[in-house]
């Protein structure tokens, strides 16, 4: 049974049927899925959730599909790592890493949104899926579309990391490298989406797709023993993830799975692409687009679609925002590897780097529960660190050669 009431414009509240629509015909505001929370409250208890397999569909009543989930059946429920060494290094009492760097099957949180998007696209009867991507989404769509026997068209900026290109091509999609930055790719895709009847996961399927990010938030609360942490730091590109984590916690409270909610949400961006952080710091109602220049390519969106909502999330929750330089990103990637044995991509470096700064500034107190959102895997952005981690030491295949080395 479905708990989805329909779509509703976030700006002017006009109602729309649950179809492949994403923008309000009247005011161009984004459409959002509306649920029947009273019914969900009856159906979705802690016991029900805990009895289900450990994947993102354990929260299926809060996800916008009508039938049975068909995709990403092994995605989600990634580890919440109690990061004792990292906590010590940062001088805080209790810190966790929500670790989507090991997400199945493509090692980033985008597996979540694509699981929902493809399940929904099939319900709508599409047989071609597409996306505009900074890399992680490309991997996730290519992989899950292949497994679902759907044709896929994937659009990326042409300067993407080689690993993200390889990690897309291996699944055999049509990969289109556009000469331009992500915002230009996105704009082109908006025009293509209005002409071709495809399921563009982050355009016409976007209201459904974006709901998948909520599972990142649900899992944090469940894994903390049905409690929300005091502080969550999340990376921002388009601004959707942070907005949806916040929505997830509010929904859990609404249906009685959380007793209270006093979580503060913090936005992290690279200094070379920080339109959301700038708007928070300047207390501005306008998101001024920027031309991205950062090694954190997965976050290089200068014109964030959900920028307003990301800023509102930060303000409403009482959090803050911080940006970090490329050097600070690399330092944070190394810090996470050296303390917790977790290799994250540049976006993770942004999130941890910002966390470090927020703690140092006293914005995040040292004695409260902190969760750092790690959304992608370091093996995908090796270019960022390859010259900063030393080199293997070459020796001859002899004991003498080795001992010369250890005694040097």
């Amino acid at each position: 049974m479905s708990y989805v009431k329909g779509l509703r414009c976030r700006e002017c509240s006009r109602h729309y049927p649950k179809e492949a629509l994403f923008v309000c015909e009247y005011c161009f505001g984004p459409l959002e899925v509306g649920y029947n929370y009273d019914k969900i409250k009856e159906a979705l208890t802690k016991d029900v959730i805990e009895s289900r397999p450990k994947n993102l569909w354990r929260y299926r009543e809060l996800l916008p599909i009508d039938g049975k989930p068909t995709d990403g059946l092994n995605s989600g429920f990634t580890p919440l790592v109690a990061a004792h060494n990292l906590a010590k290094a940062l001088g805080v009492k209790e810190l966790y890493i929500k670790d989507d760097s090991v997400s199945h099957p493509t090692l980033s949180f985008k597996d979540r949104v694509v699981a929902v998007a493809l399940s929904k696209a099939k319900e709508f009867g599409f047989n071609v899926v597409a996306c505009a991507s900074t890399g992680n989404l490309a991997n996730a769509v290519a992989s899950q579309a292949r497994a679902a026997r759907l044709k896929s068209y994937i659009f990326i900026p042409s300067d993407l990391e080689m690993t993200k290109i390889v990690g897309t091509l291996i699944y055999g999609p049509t990969l289109v490298a556009v000469e331009g930055n992500y915002d230009e790719v996105n704009r082109l895709c908006s025009e293509i989406a209005s002409k071709y009847k495809w399921a563009f996961v982050n355009i016409n399927i976007r209201p459904y797709y974006a709901e998948g990010s909520k599972t990142f938030g649900y899992e944090i609360a469940e894994q903390l023993g049905w409690k929300a942490p005091r502080h969550i730091i999340a990376p921002c590109a388009g601004g959707s993830l942070i907005t949806k984590i916040w929505k997830a916690l509010k929904e859990f409270k609404e249906i009685g799975l959380l007793d209270g909610l006093n979580t503060k949400m913090y936005a992290a961006q690279a200094a070379g692409c920080s339109p959301i952080v700038n708007a928070v710091k300047e207390n501005s109602d306008i998101i001024k687009p920027v031309r991205p220049k950062t090694i954190a390519k997965s976050l290089a969106i200068g014109n964030p679609a959900d920028g307003y909502y990301a800023v509102n999330t930060v303000k409403e929750s009482g959090g803050w925002a911080e940006s970090v330089s490329d050097e600070e990103i690399v330092d944070a990637i190394k810090l996470l590897a050296e303390t917790e044995g977790i290799f994250t991509e540049t976006a993770g470096g942004v999130t941890l780097g910002a966390t470090k700064k927020l703690i140092a500034q006293g914005r995040i107190p040292k004695d409260e529960v902190i969760v750092v959102s790690i959304t992608g895997n370091g093996l995908k952005t090796q270019e960022a660190v390859i010259d900063k981690i030393g080199k293997p030491i070459k020796i001859k295949p002899s004991l003498e050669s080795f001992e010369k080395l250890v005694n040097a």
Binding site: C24, R187, R206
Partner: protein, 91 residues
Amino acid sequence: MGIKVRIPTPLQKLTKDKEVVECEANDVKGLVEDLEKRYPGIKTRLCDDGGKLRKFINIYVNDEDIRFLKMDQTPLKDGDEVSIIPAIAGG
């Protein structure tokens, strides 16, 4: 030869299903007024009650976002191409 304007799907009902229309204007603000004259009702869809362009609409002049130019004061001349595109996409 006027200015070519690419109309987004939700507004094509107002332009009699035309994806591209021709206009004449000296800047983006004037373009909105000219569109309104040709296709009555389109202005309230593009602008809020205060007459400002709605925040979820992006306008491009010759492929450049007008927020990198002079916003609605961005000058236009014959032969220019303007695209009106919903902002909610991607990420």
